[in-house]
């Protein structure tokens, strides 16, 4: 199992109030699967993704990545696991706007211990996978939305992770660029990546490749999901 989520709860504390955001999530995602977490804003999708990535800690329950309990590891190990196994794509692209495309894509590898030369090799490969090599010397802030998202894809791919997490990846893209993004996802899926997309974009409801839609509402998975 690539991602295993067991009895996951996440509760935030507002002053004296307890706000349960995720309530007993159980989910098994196999290697190479494409999962679409679908739900209205506020249903807990982002919180779930951040727990999968080990950026946030659950109130109870656990998340296993390829057998390792990322939610229980100390930061140093959780970060290492995230750096190796997980690539992330965000709604707001989140590029360093003053850096070039190429420089942006190196960032995940900076703490990796790799030599600059090896890093460059990996960066070039990721850039061509994401079809953005031709813009590599352009400052990220000058790119169109679609190009920014492709840069973000290259950045997510650069460490050759098994898992790609996407949070509302098409929210800031027009229809054409959204379709292009879906094409990229299809390619990644073909490469055998495990993909989790949190979105409320209806475009993801009818993908022309095998995917599983998991509806979320109010911090729960709505329809029962057969984990085989």
């Amino acid at each position: 199992m690539m991602i295993k989520i067991e009895n996951l709860y996440r509760t935030f504390h507002h002053d004296d109030n307890e706000v349960p955001v995720l309530k007993n999530i159980n989910l098994n995602i196999k290697e190479g699967e494409c999962i679409v977490l679908k739900g209205v804003s506020g249903s807990g999708k982002t919180t779930l993704l951040s727990l999968i990535a080990g950026l946030d800690k659950p109130s109870s329950g656990k998340v296993l990545i390829d057998g390792e309990p990322i939610s229980k590891l100390p930061d140093l190990f959780a970060s290492e696991l995230r750096a190796k196994k997980i690539g992330m794509i965000f709604q707001h692209f989140n590029l360093f706007e003053h850096l070039t495309v190429h420089e942006n894509v190196t960032i995940p590898l900076i703490p990796s211990g790799l030599k600059m030369k090896e890093i460059q090799k990996k960066v070039d490969r990721a850039l061509s996978l994401a079809h953005i090599s031709h813009k590599k010397e352009i400052q990220a802030g000058r790119l169109s939305g679609g190009e920014q998202q492709r840069t973000a894809i290259a950045r997510a791919l650069v460490a050759d992770p098994d898992i790609i997490l996407c949070d509302e990846p098409t929210a800031n893209l027009d229809r054409d660029n959204s379709l292009l993004f879906i094409e990229s996802i299809k390619e990644l899926n073909r490469l055998g990546k495990t993909i989790v997309i949190a979105t409320h974009d209806p475009l993801f409801e009818h993908l022309d490749f095998k995917s599983t839609i998991i509806p979320m509402a109010d911090g729960k998975i709505v329809s029962s999901y057969d984990d085989e």
Partner: protein
């Protein structure tokens, strides 16, 4: 972490975000500059005073009547010589001479060049002077400030002093006094005893005061009592008392300094606060993003720490260098007025370059530690408590 890749990214960020860093560096540089200037000046003054005192005679005896100093009889010098423990008795004639046309005054000091001097600098001066050449005609040593003033008023080789009797005495410049401990010697003119007497209007057997040393400092208090009993109009001062009055003078300057210092600190805290909130608002996202891209809290902290160290060091080094140049090369225009006063100490006083490393390191501590803390604490807080920042 591969050091190479790390530094590559750090330099990249520093260079590409230079406008952000530049303003911080400039402001911090100004603060370090002001702090170091003030500290450079005060340690230089302290050094000069210490050096000055070191060479001064232990005792000064003069005659006072009704609270006014009047000429001291030379005969007292012979009496002093009789006292056990007294050495290097030196009669001295000095006074302020007011120059025409601007009313500027300099200190005229008459010295008996044939006697051993109790003032160590004078002694050194005499020992290195070709006495024969000096006594060919009427000549004088002038301080740096005196020389510049007279030169500016077209007295290139000599000056015509006007005596109280209405005669002119033409005295040639012999040499410029060495500028060491120039706090005192800067506005000084040194000439032979007889000549000083004439110019200042003293009689043959009169001097302004008599200096002498008492090598055994334990005897100083007793000596003071003994001398006071010698003549009812004898006034005696020892070096310890002079030291105390200097200390008072610079304590007052120290107060001014303290205020300046407090203003600086207040400004600095404001900037730090601003920096703190800036890190908080604008860099939250970056930090969250780095975390999401696989950077550990350690890696983020290390990165931010190194970045801050670079910014801090650059501004510290530039600020200190600038202060050094301003104080010791330019002579600290403006700030000098605060410390030396426009009138108290005359003329151009250059500061002797004194590099006190404890001062330099305290500046670094006062400046760098709060600065680094003001960056690292929010960075740490953000990386620990706002894990999803980049995703919102």
């Amino acid at each position: 972490m591969n050091a190479n890749a790390f530094w590559h990214f750090l330099t990249l960020q520093l260079v590409k975000e230079r406008s952000k860093h530049l303003s911080v560096i400039l402001i911090s540089m100004m603060i370090v500059f002001l702090l170091s200037s003030v500290l450079f000046i005060s340690s230089s003054i302290r050094y000069s005073l210490e050096e000055t005192l070191k060479v001064q005679p232990d005792f000064v005896v003069s005659r006072t009547l009704g609270g006014t100093a009047i000429p001291t009889p030379m005969a007292w010098g012979d009496e002093l010589l009789e006292i056990y423990g007294v050495s290097q008795v030196t009669p001295r004639v000095y006074g302020r001479y007011f120059f025409e046309p601007k009313g500027k005054s300099f200190l005229l000091v008459g010295v008996d060049f044939m006697e051993e001097q109790s003032h160590k600098n004078l002694q050194a001066l005499i020992e290195t002077t070709d006495i024969k050449a000096f006594f060919e005609g009427k000549q004088m040593f002038v301080g740096q400030g005196v020389k510049e003033y007279l030169n500016a008023h077209f007295y290139k080789g000599s000056y015509n002093f006007l005596t109280p009797k209405g005669q002119f005495e033409n005295v040639k410049f012999f040499k410029t006094l060495p500028s060491q401990t120039n706090l005192i010697s800067n506005d000084m003119i040194i000439l032979p005893l007889d000549l000083a007497r004439k110019i200042l209007g003293y009689d043959e057997e009169e001097v302004t005061d008599i200096l002498f040393n008492v090598p055994n400092t334990d005897e100083w208090d007793m000596m003071t009592d003994k001398l006071s009993a010698l003549h009812y109009d004898l006034h005696v001062v020892n070096k310890k008392e002079v030291q105390r009055s200097y200390a008072n003078l610079y304590n007052y300057k120290g107060g001014v300094f303290l205020i300046l210092f407090l203003i600086l600190l207040a400004t600095f805290s404001l900037i730090l606060y601003q920096r703190y909130s800036m890190v908080y608002s604008s860099e939250r996202r970056h930090i969250g993003l780095l975390r999401a891209l696989g950077w550990s809290i350690n890696a983020v902290l290390r990165y931010k720490f190194t970045e801050t160290i670079v910014v801090v060091s650059v501004s510290y080094i530039l600020g200190v260098l600038l202060a050094y140049f301003y104080v010791f090369v330019l002579g600290a225009p403006i700030l000098r007025e605060i410390f030396l006063g426009g009138k108290n100490l005359h003329n151009i006083v250059g500061f002797l370059p004194v590099l006190d490393f404890s001062v330099l390191s305290s500046i670094f501590l006062i400046y760098a530690l709060p600065f680094i803390a003001s960056v690292l604490i929010p960075v740490w807080k953000v990386s620990v408590t706002d894990p999803k920042e980049a995703m919102l």
